[in-house]
Symmetry: C2
Subunit: 655 residues, 2 copies
């Protein structure tokens, strides 16, 4: 094996002006573990305000932390209340028809939709930190509950068991949500990327619309599957069963709802036109049926609704081992979807009004509201975007608008349920379709295509998975692809050749900056990711290939032979033991070729590990430089003063 003489001249440090790379002082293991855990689980430092406070103050702050109402309540004013009253009544007028419709989507009795707009908003008003979120049942959550529970129990065969399982699933959803918040695992929700949510919501909305064909066409029998192909087959094999009365009514109301939304979108001041439209549709539809007795001509109606306040359902929770796993699974899936939507909605309004939402705290609030809901005949609730947007546009100031809404809904189910007797189901279907069409966000999908192709693929795979297979497939596909992207980023990191930017000591990628100059005899490579087990084999191959390429280029151009390889470690955030072995191997490969390896700007974490693994001793601390410019300076100095004894031509003889 050739032994090139690369001994470092003693006078070098004084000859060039070069700084040493610091090895961070050793930290006790417990302390560094504590720091890591803190950054992982408490990145927002929620205990910050508790520091240096007397115990009494700490107790009050603690209470205010758990119940934000104690913080803003004392400052509440009559002016605020006027705004919240208007907003609350507006969202109630939306909540009542939507609640009834979404309950049908979950195959649950319609009255549950009203119950669910009573208790959970009250809990949220006390514990939630968003001022704009309007609480209630959500279409996608309802659909998911319906489709997942129908896999184990048929809601027609055993409606009681089905109902109890819905409560149990809601209980587990709440438990899971609160658990995520309490154990500060909120970042799990971050793995549902924006692209995933857009695709998933669009797909779910499409599926929900397809399901409404049953109501709009007035069909009796319908498939239990949710995918496009099954639904289309079900619809078109029953053409002779289509009821034109129902279809006409549905299309008219749908047209009215869409037109009113179009106007509200054009002039945000007219938000109430679109907010009131569902209630007006229900009233008009009910009147029409009542007057024409259309219920006897193929237009189905809601029928009898039970009067009275939410009955307790804590004894209905069903922990029977036969159904437990289904209930837990439904709870976790619906719970996480509800969180992802709810927190994103809360955050975007908070960003508008410039206040701060603590994700983990919100999760606890969502969880408590669902646990309380499951004990009082409510099913899964969250913060639907449509209702929250109406709340925001109606000028709500605090969560009091939720309280107002809850009271308005209470009055409805205490006294007004008979009014819904003649409400045609087809109107509910129109309301759902109109709401769902707003969730299909094709503009964002186009934006994703322009900006980031991979995000677009993630979005479309969620959409296609949901529409053509089922909701779980779409979700798993999209999350899997998102995670694959992160893994691929690490598994296949970019390696870039750097060159000198003229008239500077700056070295940048030759691909990005076209005017860079090569440094003769020196190859400078930047590695753009942490060096981990997942990429160490790749990086070894890739670095060898860069050296091959460079030597080929030099051979054909007849320039000065390659003598030094500099790895710019600025972007290497961390390294593991596989990565260190890789560096050792690369050093061996490079030395066998008669070249010399230098590192530029390794970070604290990397230096610590290189030091502990004795790599620093092997490469020599003097071959580690603060900047690429220092490294190039040292290499150029050596190139011109002390020639190595072995040239790269001798390399072949070692094989």
């Amino acid at each position: 094996m050739g032994n090139a003489d690369y001994s470092y001249p003693d006078n070098f440090n004084s000859a060039t002006n070069h700084h040493h790379v610091a090895v961070p002082p050793p930290q006790p293991f417990v302390k560094s573990l504590k720091n890591t855990l803190k950054e992982t689980f408490f990145p927002d430092d929620p205990l910050r305000q508790f520091k240096n406070q007397p115990p009494r103050k700490k107790f009050i702050l603690g209470l205010q932390y758990i119940f934000p109402i104690l913080e803003w309540g004392p400052r509440y004013s009559l002016q605020f209340f006027r705004a919240d009253l208007i907003a609350g009544i507006t969202i109630a007028s939306l909540a009542i028809p939507q609640g009834i419709s979404y309950a049908k989507l979950a195959n649950l009795p319609p009255i549950l939709g009203l119950y669910s707009s009573f208790v959970p908003p009250l809990v949220y008003a006390v514990m939630g930190s968003s001022r704009d979120l309007a609480v209630g049942t959500v279409a996608v959550g309802s659909l998911l509950t319906g489709s997942m529970l129908s896999d184990v129990v048929n809601h027609n065969d055993d409606p009681k068991l089905y109902l109890h399982l819905a409560f149990t699933a809601t209980f587990f959803a709440g438990l899971f949500q609160a658990g995520l918040g309490i154990f500060r695992l909120g970042f799990i929700v971050d793995f549902l990327s924006h692209a995933t949510i857009v695709g998933f919501m669009g797909g779910a909305a499409t599926v929900v619309c397809l399901q409404q064909l049953k109501g709009i066409l007035g069909l009796d029998r319908f498939t239990h599957e949710t995918d496009l192909i099954s639904v289309m087959r079900s619809v078109f094999t029953q053409i002779h069963m289509w009821r034109w009365e129902s279809a006409v009514l549905g299309c008219v109301f749908l047209f009215y709802l869409l037109i009113s939304r179009y106007f509200s979108k054009k002039k945000p001041k007219l938000f109430w036109i679109s907010a009131m439209a569902p209630l007006i549709s229900v009233i008009l539809g009910s009147l029409l049926v009542y007057l024409t007795h259309a219920e006897k001509h193929g237009v189905e109606v809601i029928g009898q609704l039970k009067k009275g306040i939410n009955p307790a359902s804590i004894t209905d929770l069903n922990f029977d081992s036969n159904y437990l796993s289904a209930a837990i699974k439904t709870g976790i899936v619906t719970g996480i979807i509800a969180l992802a939507e709810g927190i994103a909605v809360g955050r975007s309004f908070a960003m508008f009004k410039n206040y701060h939402i603590d994700g983990n705290k919100e999760m606890i609030a969502f969880g408590m509201m669902n646990i309380a809901g499951s004990c009082t005949s409510c099913y899964l609730t969250a913060g639907p975007f449509s209702r929250s947007a109406v709340n925001f546009n109606a000028g709500c100031k605090t969560a009091v608008s939720n309280i107002v809404m809850a009271l308005a809904v209470m009055i409805t189910f205490l006294f007004l349920t008979p009014l819904f007797h003649y409400t045609p189901l087809v109107v509910l279907s129109s309301i759902i379709v109109a709401a769902m069409l707003g969730l299909i966000d094709y503009e964002t999908a186009i934006h994703l295509w322009h900006v980031d192709k991979f995000d677009f693929v993630v979005c479309m795979s969620a959409y296609i998975g949901v529409v053509f297979a089922n909701i779980e497939v779409g979700l798993v596909l999209a999350i899997g692809l998102s995670i694959l992207r992160v893994l691929l980023f690490v598994a296949r990191p970019k390696t870039l050749i750097l060159g000198n930017i003229p008239d500077s000591v700056v070295y940048r990628s030759v691909d990005q900056y076209k005017n860079t100059n090569n440094v003769p005899g020196v190859l400078i490579l930047e590695i753009d990711a942490p060096i981990y087990f997942a990429n160490s084999n790749y990086l070894r191959e890739r670095i060898s290939r860069w050296i091959d390429d460079e030597e080929d280029k030099i051979k054909s151009s007849g320039e000065i032979g390659l003598q030094y390889v500099i790895l710019d470690m600025s972007a290497v955030g961390n390294i593991d033991t596989s990565g260190i072995s890789m560096l050792e191997e690369v050093m061996k490969i490079i030395e066998r070729r008669g070249l010399k390896l230098a590192l530029a700007n390794p970070g604290a974490e990397v230096m610590k590990k290189l030091n502990k693994s004795k790599f620093l001793e092997k490469i020599g601390q003097e071959w580690i430089f603060l900047t690429v410019a220092d490294a190039v300076g040292a290499c150029s100095y050596m190139l011109h003063t002390c020639k190595p004894k072995m040239t790269s031509e001798e390399y072949g003889s070692n094989v």
Copy 2:
């Protein structure tokens, strides 16, 4: 909302010397996709040597690529053959007793161990590219095959079905291995990190040793579980059944094997002492039993072994749907474990001798050898470390040593099988235990603890999972933790405050370099990971917190107020649409506080996306700098010439 006047002075660019950050020219989508796919699947550019060659030469190169023997065969010399002959006979002497022992471990007839050392080595000699790998059955693969197939079929109840399933699993293992290689998915194996493999191998070795207690103690009944607790219970509830004859014999041979290994380790020249020891043990043990008739005193022997060459087994492959999923699962798990070990062993010897191993090509060779094996009565084979190390120490030159071994084994099962009739099982157990003890690499585990705590945790979780639960649990646990680490790196990226290194234009982490100086009025933050959906919420919170901290510090020290936040993007390898939204939000947050955001050194990929998403227009191209020093220069210039109208004190009024 405060509107600070941050308009950029027109004369600024001429007043300071600052370079622009280039937006890379738009690339056609198809071209960039092609580049990405090439880097992902062909990082080693295997078609490089085919470039600019005449078709005839291309064909020859192609054949040589698939069958490396065509490349080195013509240069083969007598001198090489002498070396390979010695090495081949040495590894045959190890292969025969090991083959019989490992087949027992897989609950398969002992003769299969010999068959498996005949066909696969011949295939590998033709297709493999390692010169040092000795092919044969492996302990961990045998154990895995045994434990996974025993879950579906009891080998005592239906030995024929069990045997056929073993062939089928081997077939699928080969198919999977070859598929990985052909579709260039070899990097999947990289996700088994070195730490995982060390822990997993150690755990599997422990489990195998525990299973040998049955043979050594001469027990008839034994648990089918592999975990420590079940085995200990099984051993200690049958104390009265222990056979001292068997135990004494086992301990004596184990002692002899360990002593011989100890000597060989001390003096590598004496490698043959340890290589021959298993065969000598078998011969001595058989003689002893033959002479003392110990088989009638509680020492079990192998008994009759069938004479003759491998029978064809292609018609025995069982694709019955009842067992298909078990066979496929066993095939995939054993296949990937065999690959991980085999390729790591091949690579480490290649590194010693300075030649190159192509991972994907090796996978095809392993796959073909197992497919061929499954049709000729062989079960799973790979490149065991122990045998390859003996091969290497014995001075092998090429894969011809595998051919020699195969022929020696063939002679054995053609003519010498009656000699194994009296071989006591306890000797085989001792051979297995001795081999397994060498796999428990506690020194590496200690090294991992010193260098990288997380790698140590991964290693120990694999070990503990395998020993206390089962092999699959250990494997899933370790891979899951390894992937979690990658995800956590991205989900919780480091953000570092930078300061100026005295007498330079270099900015580095103030934690790593203690002598850095703050720049008054400017906060410089480095982000150490790609900005993806998984960390965009975290980064927004963390950046806000850094600004809070900085303002608190400034308030207490009475320095010049914070005016600029510079994000150093050097280490941000990529950004997705969630990340871009985060940057927009951060810009808003910063501007609401009356501060100004600047970016330093975004890479090509990041600039491309910032441009496409119009973020560049929003922030202003002039607020993007080539280096941190440029950004600081511009900020300092602005601080001293044009004061912004709004100070950070006004911030509170916006809430």
